[in-house]
Symmetry: C2
Subunit: 230 residues, 2 copies
C-alpha cells in the first residue's frame, strides 16, 4: 500500500494519503485547504485515482479541503452520520468500510473530542483524528466534547487493538509522527495505564485552553465540507 503522512504547519494538522498500489485507487484523511495544491500535485504525480475523502470530525482549527477535492477530482466526501451536516456524499457508522482497490479502512466511532469523531483502522494502523494524540488527547471543552465519552472511546476501543498498532493522530505539536497502542497505554500522561476515569476527568477539566483562532470560520466552513469559499 502507498502511504503518505503530510503536514500542514499553521494548524499542525496531519493529512494522510493511502492508496492501493496496483489499482491506484486512493483515499485522503483530513485534508487541509491551505495545502490543497500540494495534495493535488502529489496525487497527480503518483497517478492516483482519489475515491474518498474522509474528515474524522468537524474541525475547529482548520478548513477541510474535502469539497475542493470532490470538485477537482470527483472524490466522494465522507463524515460521521452523527456530524449533523448534509454536504457529504456518504455518512459513516461503526463497522462501515471504505474500499480503495484491494485495501479498506474500517470505521470506529470514537466520540469525546466531538460527538461525531471517528477513527479509521487499516492494516495495523489507526488514524485517531483528534481523539487520541501522541502522549495527549484532543480537548473536550467545546463542540459536544465529553471527557466521559473520550475515556470510553480510548480505553474501550483504541486500547483494545493489538499493542503494536501504529497510531497516526490528526495533529502533533512537537514533531512526533506516530505512536503505538502499547506506548500510549504506558506513557500517555492523561489516559495511560495509571490514570483512572476520575484522574482523566480532572485533567481535562483543568486544561483551560484558549479557543482555536479560526474556530468560527473553520466550523462554519466545515459544516459545508469546506465549500464556503466558492
Amino acid at each position: 500500500m502507498i502511504f503518505y503522512q503530510l503536514f500542514e504547519a499553521e494548524s499542525s494538522t496531519y493529512t494522510y494519503l493511502l492508496a492501493d498500489e496496483a489499482s491506484r485507487e486512493a483515499i485522503v484523511i483530513d485534508p487541509v485547504l491551505e495545502t490543497l495544491e500540494r495534495d493535488l500535485k502529489l496525487i497527480s504525480e503518483l497517478g492516483l485515482n482519489l475515491q474518498w475523502v474522509v474528515d474524522t470530525h468537524v474541525h475547529a482549527d482548520h478548513i477541510t479541503s474535502a469539497a475542493q477535492l470532490r470538485k477537482r477530482l470527483g472524490a466522494k466526501t465522507c463524515v460521521s452520520k452523527n456530524a449533523n451536516i448534509s454536504c457529504a456524499d456518504r455518512f459513516l457508522s461503526e463497522g462501515d468500510t471504505l474500499s480503495f482497490g484491494s485495501c479498506k479502512l474500517n470505521v470506529l466511532t470514537t466520540p469525546g473530542h466531538t460527538d461525531s469523531c471517528i477513527s479509521l483502522t487499516c492494516d495495523g494502523m489507526i488514524f485517531t483524528g483528534d481523539v487520541l494524540l501522541i502522549r495527549g488527547t484532543g480537548r473536550t471543552d467545546f463542540q459536544q466534547g465529553s471527557a466521559e465519552k473520550m475515556y470510553h472511546s480510548i480505553t474501550q476501543k483504541i486500547f483494545t487493538l493489538p499493542d503494536d498498532t501504529k497510531i497516526y493522530p490528526g495533529h502533533d505539536y512537537k514533531g512526533m509522527s506516530y505512536s503505538t497502542v502499547a506506548l500510549e497505554k504506558k506513557f500517555n500522561p492523561r489516559i495511560g495505564i495509571e490514570k483512572s476515569y476520575e484522574d482523566f476527568k480532572k485533567i481535562m477539566s483543568e486544561l483551560h485552553l484558549a479557543q482555536p483562532k479560526k474556530i468560527e470560520i473553520a466550523v462554519a466552513a466545515n459544516l459545508l465540507c469546506g465549500d464556503k469559499l466558492n
Copy 2:
C-alpha cells in the same frame, strides 16, 4: 526495525531515529538542539540504547544535539572525515558502515551542498541530508557548495539506487515526509530527468537565497559537534 521520523519546526529539520527491535541498539541522524529533551524522552520510553549519532554535514541552519546526546547517553558522534572538525568520535568515508544490533547504515559520500555531505542507506531507504530534498535540492552557494559536485552526487550515486528506494531528506518546507528515487528522477524540477547539468547549474546560480538566520552561531557550534553551550 524501529523507525521514527521527527520534525523540528523552527528550521524544518527532520531527525531520524532507527533501532534494532531485538537488541534495542539505536542510531540518530541529524538531531537538533531545540528538540533534545523530546528525543531523550522518546529514546528512554522506547528502552533504546543509543550507539551512534550522525550528522550528515556541518549544518548552517540549526545546532546539532550530537554532543549532548554523547554526554547524556554515551553515544558516539560521527561526521564525514571531510568535515575538517575534530570533535567527533568517528570520521566516516565512502563504504563505511554503522552497525546497531543486526541493522546497519551504509555511508555514501554525496558532496555538493557542502564538501562533507554524506548520505546513509539502510533497508530500501536513503537519508540524503541536504543534498537531495523532495522536489528540490540543498543550496550550493556557501560552505564549499558546488553545483557540479551535487549534480554528480545525485545523478551518479542517489539516482543509481533502485527506483523504489525511499528518500528521507534533512528538511522539508511543505510538509512532505518522503519521496522515492523514481519520483525525484521524474519530478524534481532542478535535477529530474529532463534537466542537464547546464540546466541545473543555471538554476542553482539563479536562486539568490538569503543567508540562513543562524548561520554564524550554528556553524561555529556545529564545528564543536554542538558542544558550544556547555
